[in-house]
Symmetry: C2
Subunit: 116 residues, 2 copies
């Protein structure tokens, strides 16, 4: 079976830095580069009273970070297509920048098709 993309879904608990737009932007830029993707658009937006949403649209799909500082929780998605991209490269960067106490990772294969 062939497929179109890989979608890494991460749940991070016990994080720090979740209210910082600078850290979220840095994470998006570093993850994009480390994953071998090309950054096309970047949105980083603080929420009121707290939390940040960051989106990197990349040539190979997207990287997304939503943070809830009140729960020390961040939801992170890295969706890449193509064989060159390496979404797992996100993990050491996210661990360094957000210092999570606990991380759950799931990888979904998107767009599975057969050649038949």
């Amino acid at each position: 079976m062939k497929s179109i993309g890989r979608h890494m879904i991460m749940e991070m608990w016990g994080c720090s830095g979740l209210n910082s737009t600078d850290i979220v932007e840095q994470a998006l830029r570093e993850v994009t580069e480390a994953a071998g993707a090309v950054l096309l658009d970047l949105i980083v937006r603080p929420y009121t009273p707290q939390g940040v949403t960051g989106v990197a649209v990349v040539s190979e799909s997207h990287v997304m970070i939503h943070t809830w500082p009140e729960y020390s929780y961040a939801a992170v998605d890295v969706f890449t297509c193509g064989k060159k991209a390496y979404p797992a490269a996100a993990m050491p960067i996210l661990k360094r920048l957000f210092s999570p106490e606990r991380v759950q990772v799931m990888e979904m294969t998107r767009g599975i098709f057969s050649d038949d």
Copy 2:
């Protein structure tokens, strides 16, 4: 157990309209409104030689559409937090706008925690 968000993941095959930035933008706007979310930022970007990526950052998280017209395939994510949002409202809109022959839907609960 309580949770922070609901993440609907949709795989749509046999679609039409996948090369139209207008249709992708319309889908993002209609899905956002129907899901009870508030639109904050919108990016719709055509790819070369084909395909479209659209992102709606909403107050309740995000709606994302990536299309691969060469495979008649679209990947759609609707991530909402809060009890008022209704991500399942996306489905009839997506079916009307992209006429998929086959749809797979998965819903993930994001940010599960206990009160203990």
